[in-house]
Amino acid sequence: MSKTAVRPSALRAGAFAALVAASFMAAPSSVLAADPIKIGSVVSATGPASFLGDPEQKTLKLYVEALNKKGGLMGRPVELVLYDDGGDANKARTFATRLIEDDKVIAMVGGTTTGTTMAMIPVFEDAKVAFISLAGAIEIVEPVRAFVFKTPHTDKTACQKIFEDLKGRKLTKIGMISGTDGFGKSMRAQCLKVIGDYGISVLADESYGPSDADMTPQLNKIKNTAGVQALVNPGFGQGPAIVTRNYAQLGISVPLYQSHGVASKSFIDLAGAAAEGVRLPAPALLIADKLAGTDPQKAVVTEYKKSYESATGQPVSTFGGYAYDGIQILVSAIERAKSVEPQKIRDAVEATKNHVGTTGIYNMSAKDHLGLGTESFRMLEIRKGDWVPLAGVQN
């Protein structure tokens, strides 16, 4: 079992409620057999971003569980102190403070959305504790902050990958339909920033709300825009699945590009036959079984896919993969640092070299707290309900 169950600090927080009645009581701090190493995490396991946060939470719990079964870290058990912020930045900030002040964790892997991550950053910077974020936006690591790292590709690299592919097909005029959630909006902005480098222009630029159930009005507008040669859909969750269905319903004939935000088998299930021919940039995780035996990522993605899917009964997604990479980078850093001192852990995380993760191969440095290139994305096409890597597009 994961060691997130009843903890004394939670009891104390409960008692805090009684403060108003001036009957404060502090529970005694527990003494565990072997002092556990405390790793903190705040994810959005519920709320609008739970599509991302839920697999992250499950992945972290599974990983720590497995780690403890293998004897823990440096002979000590690992305790994962995990909180759910519900997607609320204010709550995330409070939990971050709790991790630092009350739980006294030595590092943190979490922060599902860019909003919650940005709200939590000052807490970890002030406390000088390493924070490995699982959110997409580039401003998390640019400019570089001493204690902040992240594992997901930035949206920019996803855009570049899509545009490279478009350029290869000589398609230069696109229509865009983006989700208005944090993911969709941020990716749209990044795409518009780099689009000029590829000589591609946007003829129609539409959007949809995070819980919209029908995008035919917007797609119809794009369909009726003369000259559109391809359709790009930055978004995550159910939105892209509905866009794909509506795209097929309206009989739009130009190629459709999705993003890494849908990179989970459940997208194919939801979009059904409409997903046929859709292309998207995605990490190697999705095509674990199709990777060549010589592929450096083969072992790690197969291992993660197997353990996650057998434990949860749900298909792996890019987002769970980010959490897997995050906790693995942290654990390996602690092992290399041979210390639980936050400063030494931070230094070791920054020194991460050739770390093979599910998302890509990480090479961090003082100047790059992400350490992934565009090559970590693979261009996939959905054929007969399965992902097929596109030959010749891999760098």
């Binding site: 108003v20 930045a89 709200a119």
Partner: protein, 315 residues
Amino acid sequence: MLAAVVTSRLATLLFLALVIAVVPVLAPSSFYLRVASLVWIFALAALGLTILMGYAGQVSLGHAGFLGIGAYAVAVGPARLGLDPLLSFFLGAALCGLVAYAVGKPILRLKGYYLAIATLGFGLIVALVLHSEAAVTGGPDGIQVARITLFGWRISGATTWYWVTAGALMIGAALALNIAASPSGRTLRALHDSEVAATGVGVDVAARKLAAFVVSAVYAGVAGGLLALMNGFITPETASFMHSIELVAMVIIGGTGSVLGAVVGSAFLTVLPQALTILQEYEQAVLGLLIMVFMIFLPAGIVSSLKRFVLDRAP
């Protein structure tokens, strides 16, 4: 004797001051100070709402919209317009009052559920604007808030913020108590009891309601501004429907129309999620259940029920 103490205005303030003074002594770490600061901030917003709900008998299901306006004022003012953060803070509160006046004038003609849906719509529209106008508000990913400096002194740190928010709450509570005791407060309460009767004795019902709405919006705006300044980062989530609901729940759980009730309600709903983390995935279900149980069995709220309990036993 005891009855007089329990109900007097000064006693309320003294009691609040006592609690505020005791918390830092008992708090084991600055995390507890942060939670307490949040309690004070949301209590301030709930206080405003209790003026609207308890004194004027009107409900707003979109009050987080004003929280959002106040919060984004201190973020957007310095970042986009180059205004001083402190000035932005006051401008934000004033803006809330103005918006409340403009929106409230037509809305407050409506009654009951119609008022509820109109205010709900207002709150959603504010949240949507904060989401959509990314060029100004930073969009769904939120926006950084500049640190505030007063006379060259940078306000930061949990302890400082604890005292700032506690001070703001004390001022807000004193004002609310004075409003309640003033002649206009009394007419407001007459409104609550019977609009027809109030009109009959020559009260300008519409004007009083509007005044209560504007005051409650300013309270929420101040709370939002404090929240943004303390956190240093703000997202459109601040203005969400769920937050509006939370504010109303704070007022009712604490006890509608009671100053201490607003504080108790805020403490309850701010501390509860921290305590419920031990329940993990059951947290949502238990939270919903607790709200239901409180509404069903303590419709008068914690404070008035406690008061009645004490008074019944008073000699």
